[in-house]
Symmetry: C2
Subunit: 485 residues, 2 copies
């Protein structure tokens, strides 16, 4: 809550100077410790226009080594993204860095009139802050508070001295009390254990600076001491999060017969017909600025590549991108595991096709032990939240699991080995994965059960007959687009 009693906080210059020097030394060495301990940190500086956000950011960076932080200021309108979180997620710090945000996602919770519903925005923010916190990022949130009359005074002063009118700040000042209610409500609902709000008086820069230094120092010290203890259990924040997203009951793989065939004589005509339909649907999406994400997962040799080709061959290549997902680069590894997927989400009227996806977390990373058990167990919720953001923003999301039998896989592997043109497609890794079929089957069943939400259900495609699979995929995409529009 924005508390007006704090507005009277002041500090004498002599006291300020003494404390500042002490805290600056401390901040400098804590920053190096954070960097060495590979703890990322995000400082979000919010507040009323003219409350002094710029000055506070100057004070924050004053003692810091510029190699380890970066200040992100309010973007131009050009940088608005779908989902709105995307632009900020991309700027979140990697393991040994500090990001300082002038406003961040609270732009949408506090000031942006075009946000569809404030409640949904707040849910998005809570989810993403919890995810980053669970991933080890320290989140410090500051709100610089001044009264309506003080803001008005400052705006008039700027107008007089600089001959500059900030129309939006003037608009906010005029409706100060309405905004006050919105901000108070948003602060109350985003003041979580893992990302607490700190309201600071914007009157006296001395006392504000010292308060901010103390907050950051405490946050760093607390993170460094926790790091020593190292979490091994699922963070508390995670509990019960599944209940938010009703799940669709999915069959187990063993109950699915991947042998469904197609009338060979009619295949070509049917394919052409569906591709022509899809082509028209894409034109519609393009003209109506609706982006789309297609996710292809499935057994090795299930036919992902061939299916993607049947989809893309009827699309304009300038409107889609195929993103083949392999093991993450060192930069990707130093971020939240969903970071590299956020970055690739399609904008405006584009289509992104993921050849494998974020589900690697609960399949290969789970089975090969690339991440802790609690990490992949958390991932189901994180992925549901991520997909909720995607669909909520208006992007169409369609997920496919391409299913074949172990026998069919063996036939295809051998076929690849015996065909010189296809040998590159089969590697030792494929054979190793095949040996773990049973483990993978458990993981896939878990994944299908836990991430088949109403807004992003899985489509299981029977693929022992490739042609059948391709037709079903095309039909599914067409149907999903039709349902959407």
């Amino acid at each position: 809550m924005l508390n007006d009693t704090i507005l009277n906080n002041t500090m004498l210059k002599t006291e300020y100077k003494k404390l500042k020097e002490k805290y600056c030394n401390e901040l400098y060495s804590l920053q190096i410790d954070m960097m060495k301990a590979k703890i990322p940190m995000a400082i979000i500086v919010e507040g009323w226009g003219t409350a002094g956000k710029g000055k506070i950011i100057s004070q924050i960076i004053d003692p810091l080594d510029p190699r380890y932080y970066r200040v992100y200021s309010k973007g131009s309108t050009c940088q608005q993204t779908v989902p709105f979180l995307k632009q900020y997620v991309e700027k979140m710090p990697c393991r040994d860095k500090l990001s300082i945000f002038d406003s961040c996602w609270y732009e949408y919770a506090f000031w942006n009139e075009s946000t569809i519903t404030k409640k949904s925005t707040i849910e998005s923010i809570n989810s993403i802050e919890r995810q980053f916190s669970d991933d080890g990022c320290v989140i410090v949130k500051l709100f610089l508070h001044i009264s309506k009359s003080e803001q008005k005074k400052r705006l008039q002063l700027i107008e007089k001295n600089e001959n500059y009118i900030n129309e939006y700040d003037n608009f906010i000042n005029k409706h100060y009390n309405d905004f006050l209610e919105i901000v108070n409500n948003a602060i109350e609902n985003t003041n979580k254990e893992y990302a607490r709000w700190n309201v600071i008086s914007g009157y006296d820069i001395y006392s504000a600076t010292i308060s901010v230094y103390e907050i950051i120092i405490n946050a760093m010290k607390s993170a460094l001491s926790k790091k020593d203890a190292e979490k091994t259990t699922i963070p508390v924040n995670y509990k019960d999060s599944d209940k938010r997203f009703p799940l669709i009951k999915m069959p187990l793989l063993k109950d699915i017969d991947p042998n469904v065939s197609v009338d060979e004589n009619k295949y070509k005509d049917k394919l052409k017909q569906l591709q022509s339909k899809l082509s028209k649907r894409q034109e519609f999406l393009f003209k109506n600025q609706i982006p789309m994400v297609l996710v292809f997962e499935g057994w090795d040799a299930a036919g992902k590549g061939g299916s993607i080709k049947r989809v893309t061959s009827c699309l304009d290549p300038r409107d889609y991108t195929v993103i083949p997902i392999s093991s993450p680069s060192s930069i990707e590894l130093s971020h939240h595991y969903l970071w590299r997927f956020w970055k690739e989400l399609p904008q405006q009227n584009k289509i992104t096709i993921f050849d494998r996806s974020w589900y690697g977390r609960v399949m290969v990373e789970r089975i090969e032990g690339f991440c802790d058990k609690n990490r992949w167990q958390m991932a189901y919720s994180e992925i549901n939240e991520f997909e909720h953001e995607i669909t909520k923003s208006g992007i169409i999301l369609i997920k496919f699991w391409l299913h074949i039998s172990p026998d069919e896989q063996l036939t295809r592997f051998k076929n690849r080995e015996n065909n010189p043109a296809k040998q590159w497609k089969i590697t030792d890794e494929d054979w190793r994965n095949r040996k773990k079929w049973d483990e993978y089957e458990i993981a896939v069943n878990d994944m299908l059960q836990k991430t088949s939400t109403k807004f992003a259900p899985w489509n299981i495609i029977e693929c022992n007959n490739k042609k059948y699979g391709r037709l079903k995929i095309l039909k599914t995409i067409i149907k999903e687009i039709d349902d959407h529009i």
Copy 2:
């Protein structure tokens, strides 16, 4: 030249099918060879609207493995950058990849009315294509040609069938002959040995596809055979390029006395006064949307950090970014060495401060042998071209060389070693570099002589007295801004 006789090229479907299969197999394996040989490739697909660029791109990617290419389509207006090349340079392929551009920088040479002068645009394009070619990138340029009447027919058909009017294409069709002259002129002037144009008929997709396949296959084969020979001499393209940019005669370091002092009593007042002036200048730049780049180079311990702090402490932290340059990451290494600097160029009304910069190429990389002699020798021209692009686009660029004597450096190194709070600032590398003072002095003198252009002269700052240096830097920035506006 757009030659109308090619417009009659046609091909029978049977012949097309046979050739297509053959070429697709060849393209697929050549692509893998290119990837293995780490040869990047950029294919630029240009042409009249409705000439079939989308279809041709579809055909190009048809045989390719999606892991190794990416299609970049025309950006929205939001993505327009200064310099205009920036948006495309960022998308140029890394060592083992292929970028396919729907238009690329020719958007500005052919179709963009707002380009200030076509001549200057063409110079920019020639420079950047030569730079990428010299860096090993294969550039294939295709122009899909159709006649005015054919384009009109197609536009009318789209309007009728899809109820969609492409206003810009209609505008171009109306002024087809004017654009024809512009395109012909631009093609003629950018048809260089290292990046030849290929004009293809947009009438018959069969013959066009086969032509494009043949062009790409030849380009790949030629690059692969050249790779074996490996260039060891300076590429021919480089010769004489210096003459384009008149140089300012700079003194040798030995003729500069870094001992200039300042009236200690007046320093504080003078500093405050200059900072307040600079602060006003930044407001002006901000409001007038003028970006600025500051480059800080200098001897180790010359005072770059402290000087940058005196500059930034009077700026709004939301409007500038300090980019500390250290050794490149693996991703940066897999691109042209200027790529990581292009990416950081400030947009709109921002300031980028480089703490060390692209001059690493002709200093540390030269002296430590991180790049071949011909590579760093080429860099002077490349850097002049880069800086020419920066300044031409309206960005203010100011470069500083912070100069101290070897004795002063020794004093500062020892001081750092003896001061616990400053020990982190001194490393073994600093001592190693110090031993190479004479080599560095030669490199710095070369750099000052060869990259002090009229549009981006070096400012040598005498820094044995830090305070004098700081004041001179502030004065220089203020003067440069005043000269600019």
